[in-house]
């Protein structure tokens, strides 16, 4: 039987077989390799985000102006605070996870149970926070007008705060003049029965224009970032002209097609990247729950090793690791 090589002459060497050169179990190694490939997926997304941002570098939305909300503190502009809280929650749940792994090494079932439970709670808080963040983002706050070219025009006025002139955003609800309109939502009962239309925008462009013309103080700003790193505010005449000639659609909030904060790509990437990460956190929580019950049932106690907690822990830390990067590239940079 010489058709296969049975002896390679490497017996007894590091990679000759029978050894564990990496001193890691199969499961742990495969978890590491999965993490590498998953890290590449996430970097693909973030690099694509970078591509789109470089493409629109002069008009990309400023994250500090978009994510300003904190639950229970309605109407206050507090950029960063809530995401910082979310980041801390996730790092904290990483800590409880690594404490659970450590307790597993000491075969301490009670401690593993406790720390895993805390990890699950942390993960749940994070997913909940992200859902809230999405809801706030989708709902929007000031509203805007989209031009024929797909650019976003926002509204505001100059106010003096602490002796400095500042551009303060104004919601379209505050100045739009509601007029009677003939335009009705196209339902299934009219025309082609199978064709229906999404809910109409809150106002027509004309109503916004009327409101803008009636309020002398309101100005329009476009998305172009000037030398001071702020969006360009147009003059009064230019504001009226832009809305009259170029305004096409009133936008409130964000979805995959339109986005009141700026280029639609920003919302697309926000939904896609934080959504994909949120899905990872969610599956992490589910896996943690399964392992949690296994710990309670004593599966790993009988097995004589809590390595499963360690492997799931690796995945959980990876989710935290990805969030560190998402946090930087979506909210900070």
């Amino acid at each position: 039987m010489d058709s296969t090589v049975a002896s390679t002459g490497t017996e007894g060497r590091t990679w000759g077989g029978g050894n564990r050169p990496l001193k890691a179990s199969y499961g742990k190694m495969m978890m590491w390799f999965f993490i590498v490939s998953d890290a590449l997926t996430f970097s693909g997304f973030l690099a694509a985000y970078g591509f789109s941002r470089f493409k629109f570098i002069q008009e990309w939305p400023i994250a500090d102006e978009v994510f300003t909300h904190v639950p229970f503190l309605h109407g206050q502009e507090l950029p960063m605070i809530y995401v910082a809280f979310m980041t801390f929650i996730l790092i904290m749940s990483s800590v409880t996870m690594v404490l659970a792994v450590d307790a597993g090494h000491h075969m301490n079932k009670a401690k593993v149970t406790l720390y895993l439970f805390l990890t699950i709670i942390g993960g749940a808080i994070f997913v909940g926070s992200q859902a809230w963040e999405w809801a706030t983002f989708i709902q929007g706050d000031y509203g805007a007008v989209q031009t024929k070219g797909g650019n976003i025009l926002q509204f505001g006025e100059y106010v003096t705060v602490d002796g400095k002139e500042k551009f303060k955003r104004i919601s379209i609800d505050e100045f739009a003049v509601t007029t009677a309109t003939e335009r009705a939502q196209h339902g299934r009962n009219n025309g082609l029965w199978f064709v229906t239309e999404a809910s109409l925008p809150p106002y027509t462009v004309n109503e916004i224009y009327e409101g803008l013309a009636a309020n002398e103080n309101i100005l329009v700003r476009n998305q172009i970032i000037n030398e001071d790193g702020e969006k360009t505010v147009l003059s009064r005449e230019e504001s009226l002209r832009q809305i009259k000639e170029n305004g096409k659609l009133v936008v409130k909030g964000a979805n995959l097609q339109v986005n009141e904060y700026g280029t639609a790509l920003f919302a697309d990437f926000f939904f896609f990247i934080t959504g994909f990460h949120g899905f990872h956190v969610f599956s992490g929580v589910v896996i943690n729950i399964i392992i949690f019950f296994n710990v309670i049932l004593g599966t790993y106690e009988r097995r004589g090793s809590y390595e499963m907690v360690e492997k799931v822990g690796l995945y959980w830390h990876f989710v935290d690791l990805v969030w560190v990067f998402v946090f930087t590239f979506f909210y900070l940079v």
Partner: protein, 148 residues
């Protein structure tokens, strides 16, 4: 399973008595770094908002120098600080929470070098291309009109 943990971080500057203590120490450090990021992100100090070196004009070698120094020439110092702090955080999460510090050198390199190389490549290609597309759109006489 007898596990040996390496119980020092910052190249031995900060030593711990047990693994649990090390975990809390790393948490303190990560929280500190995040706090710095958040504070910088909220206040955005003026001197960090503009690049310190402007692109060097001239021929081929000037371009070469610009490429080598690109993080300083083309990036706001604030953003550079954010990215460096992020990588520091990523290092401590991987090394101490995921126990990469305790794995063999071979496993560590398999995972880290592969990922780092491919990610650098990906980022280079896509950002280069994005910058190029921007240049095409925003020349003096662009073929595509976008502002209407």
């Amino acid at each position: 399973m007898a596990h040996e943990h390496k119980l020092e971080i910052f190249r031995g500057l900060w030593k711990f008595k047990s693994n649990t203590q090390k975990i809390w120490g790393v948490l303190a450090f990560l929280t500190f770094v995040t706090a710095i990021e958040v504070i910088l992100g909220i206040y955005k100090p003026d001197f960090l908002m503009h690049t310190w070196i402007s692109p060097i004009e001239g021929g081929f070698f000037a371009t070469l120098v610009n490429i080598i120094l690109s993080p300083f020439v083309y990036m706001k110092p604030l953003n550079l600080i954010f990215i460096i702090l992020t990588i520091i955080k990523a290092y401590y999460i991987t090394w101490d929470f995921m126990h990469m510090r305790d794995e063999t050198k071979a496993l560590r390199r398999m995972v880290v070098w592969t990922a780092v190389f491919l990610i650098c490549y990906l980022i280079f290609i896509l950002l280069q291309e994005g910058g190029y597309v921007y240049d095409v759109y925003f020349t003096q006489d662009p073929l595509i009109k976008r502002d209407f």
